[in-house]
Symmetry: C2
Subunit: 182 residues, 2 copies
């Protein structure tokens, strides 16, 4: 990759991140990104084949934060339910301010062709770790996919309806209680 191309790519991602943060996924057009980054539309698409692929690059840091959040939750002193609530809450917070991201990642969970595969794998892996460590405290037979979808679904409505933290916390509490129930 040529140096000028690299610079273009980096600037695009940086500028796109600011725009998406401000207006959400559907509030920003590809033309807007191209203009703001000072490149032609073709350049944008040369680096990112779709708008979703660009969004995936914008959310790059997310992946590491997911790992950190599970680590923290699992290291907590407390019941299985407490750990779940902490982890779920952090997960939703991680997507807070990225309007449209929660729904997109959740819908990509079963789709191997989505630009978000890497993120999905991370997220599923995180929930698998939760299952492995919390083991018998959880409802028997529960899968990482199921937990991921449940929490992702809550995150998606929380995002789309702009719920406040109290409401989200309450919903996550219901899910956590359901997951520790015999």
């Amino acid at each position: 990759m040529r140096a000028d191309a690299r610079r273009n790519r980096d600037r695009i991602v940086e500028i796109a991140r600011a725009l998406f943060k401000d207006k959400g996924f559907s509030g920003v057009s590809m033309d807007e990104v191209a203009k703001a980054a000072g490149v032609g539309a073709g350049t944008l698409y040369r680096h990112f084949p779709t708008k979703e692929a660009l969004y995936d690059a914008v959310l790059e840091a997310w992946t590491d934060k997911v790992k950190a959040a599970v680590d923290r939750a699992l290291g907590l002193d407390g019941s299985a339910r407490d750990k779940l609530v902490s982890w779920f809450g952090d997960y939703v917070d991680l997507l807070n301010g990225h309007k449209g991201a929660a729904a997109r990642i959740t819908l990509a969970l079963g789709d191997p062709d989505s630009p978000f595969v890497a993120k999905c794998t991370r997220y599923l892996g995180a929930n698998q770790r939760v299952i492995d460590e919390l083991g018998p405290a959880l409802r028997p037979g529960v899968s990482a996919m199921e937990i991921s979808r449940l929490v992702g679904a809550v995150a998606a409505v929380a995002d789309a309806s702009a719920l406040d933290p109290d409401e989200v916390g309450s919903m996550l509490g219901v899910v956590a209680d359901g997951l520790v129930a015999a």
Copy 2:
């Protein structure tokens, strides 16, 4: 309303229902509906100010079915959890085959300006009845809005990811368990 207008309106809804059922909300364009119904685009918009308003008319029967489903579930012999699972399952089934409807109704829950207000009111009312009748068996302080959003969220991902009934049932079981937990 003139007789010819009435006939046009009815035909539009009927044809649109078939198209939406087949291809989902985003799979059908307003032009397609107009063409199939044999009217101009202007006529379509004279009867329905937005695509969502048309969709609301298409889902007309839904409202009564919601009432029937709660009635049936509350009349069941069984635990509070059983009743919840039955009602939630029926709710998701009611939206089955209407791709895009679950998400739209769930997102409209807090929005008084949505074309789906009537449906939301019905749905919220149904969950309020559940709370009133199941009373102390449920988690204290739970609201109709919270239940509606939780089940709606599950319905939305089930719809968007085309989950099979087993997976949906399992997720609804988690939610139901969470709602009856102390």
